[in-house]
């Protein structure tokens, strides 16, 4: 399969609600998603719309990240839904699809996510902290939401940054 280019603003695919995958997961899509994610060493998650596909598939892998507490390794989830969320933490996020800016984003500290594996099995993940933040960021992509849509205060929440390589 292939490393695809990561779609960036103002690409419209980032702003639409992605369609459910349903019963048949697209294997090619999952392989491309993982290939593309691994092509950027700093990347801890990617959602299908970021590689131009408006379907509800995400990949998350926070292994070895310094902020990781709870870790489920590499997780691919199809049609993921957050079924429980509690606590609130603000941290600065960057996004491969949003060049030049980072933003403070409030996320739930602890979440329960339900979805399906690429093999079609149901999977429920209970996690917190950085991994929970990564899941929420990627699931936001499936709803057409970017970090800029999550900002509460312009004065204190949006920052310029250098483009990530």
């Amino acid at each position: 399969m292939a490393v695809r280019s990561v779609n960036r603003l103002p690409d419209h695919v980032l702003k639409v609600r992605a369609e459910p995958v349903g019963d048949t997961p697209g294997k090619d899509l999952i392989v491309d998603l993982l290939d593309t994610m691994r092509a950027s060493p700093a990347c801890v998650g990617l959602a299908a719309p970021q590689i131009g596909v408006a379907r509800r598939v995400i990949a998350v892998d926070v292994t070895d990240h310094k902020k990781t507490t709870t870790c489920h390794g590499l997780v691919v989830l199809i049609d993921p839904v957050i079924i429980e969320a509690s606590g609130r933490e603000v941290a600065r996020e960057g996004c491969m699809s949003v060049p030049d800016l980072t933003a403070n984003v409030a996320r739930a500290h602890r979440i329960v996510v339900r979805g399906r594996t690429p093999e079609g099995d149901d999977r429920v993940i209970v996690t917190d902290g950085f991994e929970a933040r990564a899941f929420q960021h990627e699931i936001d992509h499936l709803d057409g939401l970017l970090i800029l849509d999550r900002v509460d205060s312009l004065a204190t929440d949006v920052f310029r940054r250098r483009t990530y390589k």
Binding site: H65, R92, G94, R133
Partner: protein, 174 residues
Amino acid sequence: MSSIAITVIGNDQPGIVAAVTRALFDVGCNLEDISSTILRGHFSMTMISRCPDGVDPSSLEDRLASVAAELNVVATARTVEDTPAEFEPPTHMVAVYGADKPGIVYRVADALARLGVNITDLNSRLIGEENDPVYALQIEVQAPPECNLDEVLPPLREELGVEISVHPIEADVL
């Protein structure tokens, strides 16, 4: 094309941004970066705009003057050098707050300047009761790697009677 910096300051009211940017749009200017806020009830905006040939600062000021008079604001325009948009990323946030008195910004900024630290953003508000005003200052800085803000800024706490905290900026790419 040239880059022109435009500032607008005056009594706040609805419609200032619309009126000013309409005047710029009418002469073919394309806005780039803008910072605008309300400072103690005063509208304040700074813009960098790419302007077509034939639009110079004085013609722009003339055009803005009628708009500004109507809104009771002051607008200025001046040519600025074209600089690359890319810049060193900020490294730290500095928070300073305490009983208000003259010299807080100066002493903190002076300490930063002596270290070669660049201030990339700054916000302050005078808050609290009229007879007990509190000064709250947030500074985003780009500090050279060798400079230790944790050693330099805390000594100012006693001198100024304010709280000072420094924390590194860490953004995660998700």
